[in-house]
């Protein structure tokens, strides 16, 4: 009996030290480096192309900063880096990510409010969002000059129009759209920007992949914590199960004697 108790205590201390050693790592982001780069790019694309209309009302800027490692060691730099690169509104770093699109204006322009995207991946699926973003095509009959083959007659304009391969035709559309809305945008600048992107930047598929990765992270920011904790819990349970099965065998052997 004492042997068993001692064994238990030994295992307990052993596992406790292991758990403690893991804990130090946990305070940092537990996202893998390869994913991290994609998520950081995704955050960039989201803030540049989506955040004008779509909010992420359950996500805070500073959490994004910590999880995506948009910081150096000291805190002050963290804030300024985050503010310079990802915060385009007057928001504080502790605020949630909200678009500054006015409700009435959005109703006027699109007929509905652009939905919040915090949970879009869980409500639809990663594949759905990926296909949706890639399925825009030119259609003069629609108010924004584009239609979507995945979701017919969607009211969303194509946010990634300027980085598509057929940028030339698209910028014509942008021209038309702009004329239609009588907005005075410097189209020349738009051309320059898009040309630059086309020659050096990643393909549309890669950008959408990064965006979807980012949205998947936003839908469940704790996923990596969950999985890393899960491995430890399952490992511990496995050990304990093996130990208890030996104990069970011993106790039932007593009965046979």
């Amino acid at each position: 009996m004492w042997k068993i108790i001692l064994f238990f205590i030994f295992i307990f201390i052993f596992l406790f030290t292991i758990a403690n050693s893991f804990e130090k790592k946990l305070s940092m982001s537990s996202i893998r480096a390869s994913e991290l780069a994609s998520l950081q790019r995704g955050a960039k694309y989201f803030m540049n192309y989506c955040s004008g209309c779509h909010s992420l009302q359950y996500m805070r800027y500073n959490r994004l900063g910590v999880d995506l490692k948009i910081d150096d060691k000291s805190n002050s730099i963290n804030q300024s880096r985050l503010k310079k690169n990802l915060i385009f509104t007057q928001a504080k770093t502790s605020d949630t990510i909200k678009s500054s699109l006015h409700k009435k204006e959005s109703l006027l322009w699109f007929g509905k409010r652009p939905p919040d995207l915090s949970l879009s991946i869980r409500a639809r699926s990663a594949d759905w969002v990926y296909n949706y973003l890639l399925s825009f095509y030119l259609d003069d009959t629609r108010p924004f000059g584009v239609n979507n083959s995945y979701i017919k007659n969607t009211v969303m304009p194509d946010p990634l129009a300027i980085i598509r391969k057929d940028t030339h035709t698209y910028s014509n559309v942008n021209n038309k759209t702009n004329d239609r809305l009588s907005l005075k945008i410097n189209n020349h600048a738009l051309y320059l920007h898009s040309n630059k992107n086309r020659s050096e930047g990643p393909t549309l598929e890669k950008i959408v992949t990064d965006l979807v990765n980012f949205l998947a992270y936003i839908a469940e920011p704790t996923k990596n914590n969950r999985q890393s904790l899960g491995k430890k819990v399952c490992g511990f349970l496995l050990l304990l199960t093996l130990f208890v099965s030996i104990l069970k065998k011993q106790i039932w052997e007593n009965l046979e004697k």
């Binding site: 969950r226 819990v233 399952c234 039932w252 009965l255």
Partner: protein, 412 residues
């Protein structure tokens, strides 16, 4: 006197002080060290205690969730998302509770299946069975009430349909529906009602009924896979009954750990279970003005929900739905077989049980998918099959040829 001896005497004193004032020793004797069980119980027998474990897990995680949950239409969905993101380990408790709900039903279904398998509902355990059926129905109710609380699209519309059932009761229906909803549609009042019942009222009934279920079981004793009375055993060298502690406590601990391992894998790696434990539609906040094109029920309510979809006449559909559960109440008196266990029953019983299990699982599965005319026909056939299992039982159990029963549970 060494320090160890001193410790022993002081704990001994405390135990003695307590046992003079409280029947703690008698309780341990009665329910653990001198509670005897047949020696040949197999793994099907552990699901009862596992259900008890998951019930307490649900209570504990539920208490924790109530700390942060806001039962208002404006706050419900947000408070859960805040739990999932901002509160340390909030996601863990939420997933434990949501996975726990489904796991509870899986365990209960296996527990019920065990009763079918070894005839645990037959005399003298009818009352244990009846209390168990009551527990199952109240558990369904508890799950249905809890399902509204996340206030997503799936929960909202499932509750809208669920509460509209009462509408078709003649005379009192509309009044009853109004009373349950507190409004003409499912709204904040309904949420508050469901929350109260889910958190306090129904769990208290569950605790009470579980106690009765166990008391009745300990009175008549546990059945065993051979389904023969253990009392009438011939005395040979081998004991036929072993005390609960330590023989079955260690086995149940072993079973519990294996269960926890599987449970943890689901909680930590696939908490949504591909939309079966947490529906995609429930990640969209409830909108009373936007009916989803396909209202899919959660899997453990699907068999009952499906009945309403495939029966064109609503009152008749509700009657059949009640009948699905009602059949379970009369089961002990439908079974005319002299043999309890499936091991010694004839082929009719075996075939019937297999068909029954298959049709109930299929009913639960098909109704979570989009129903097409072909599937509706299939569901109707399966429902017929479900009822035939019970209604034909007096005949096939009476006239089938059983195998001879062994004299002892200790081998041939």
């Amino acid at each position: 006197m060494s320090s160890a001896d001193k410790n022993i005497t002081s704990t001994h004193k405390i135990v003695q002080w307590l046992s003079e004032r409280f029947p703690i020793n008698e309780y341990i004797r009665q329910h653990f060290t001198h509670y005897y069980l047949p020696k040949n119980l197999n793994f099907w027998y552990f699901f009862g205690s596992l259900s008890l474990f998951i019930f307490f897990l649900q209570v504990l995680t539920g208490i924790w969730l109530t700390l942060f949950y806001i039962p208002t239409p404006e706050g419900a969905f947000n408070s859960i998302e805040i739990m999932m993101r901002d509160i340390p380990y909030g996601w863990l408790f939420r997933y434990l509770h949501s996975t726990g709900a489904s796991a509870f039903f899986i365990l209960i279904y296996i527990h019920i299946f065990r009763s079918f398998l070894y005839g645990s509902y037959k005399k003298p355990r009818e009352l244990v069975w009846l209390l168990g059926v009551c527990l199952y129905i109240i558990l369904l109710l508890e799950a249905f009430l809890g399902y509204l609380l996340p206030w997503g699209q799936a929960s909202y519309w499932a509750s809208q349909i669920g509460t509209s059932l009462f509408d078709s009761i003649p005379k009192f229906g509309p009044m009853l529906t109004l009373l349950i909803r507190g409004n003409n549609i499912v709204s904040g009042e309904t949420l508050h009602r469901f929350f109260t019942f889910h958190v306090i009222a129904i769990p208290s009934i569950l605790v009470f009924l579980t106690r009765l279920h166990l008391t009745a079981l300990h009175k008549v004793g546990c059945n065993n896979p051979d389904g023969i009375s253990v009392l009438a055993q011939p005395h040979n060298k081998m004991p036929v009954k072993v005390p609960f502690y330590p023989y079955y406590t260690i086995k149940e601990l072993h079973a519990l750990l294996i269960f926890l391992l599987i449970f943890s894998i689901i909680v930590f790696f696939v908490p949504e279970m591909h939309g079966y434990f947490l529906e995609a539609n429930n990640f969209v906040p409830a909108d009373p003005l936007l009916t989803p094109s396909h209202i899919e029920p959660v899997w453990y309510l699907a068999a009952f929900y499906g009945v309403l979809c495939v029966i064109p006449n609503k009152p008749l559909g509700i009657l059949i739905m009640v009948g699905l559960l009602g059949m379970l109440f009369i089961l002990p008196w439908l079974d005319r077989s002299p043999v309890r266990s499936i091991r010694y029953r004839g082929y009719y019983s075996r075939f019937a049980l297999a068909a029954f299990i298959l049709s109930f699982s299929l009913l639960s599965y098909i109704n979570t998918t989009l129903l097409t005319p072909y599937k509706i026909f299939l569901v109707q056939i399966l429902l017929l099959n479900y009822f035939l299992f019970f209604l034909l039982m007096p005949f096939y159990t009476k006239y089938e040829k059983n195998k001879p029963l062994p004299k002892s549970i200790c081998g041939k």
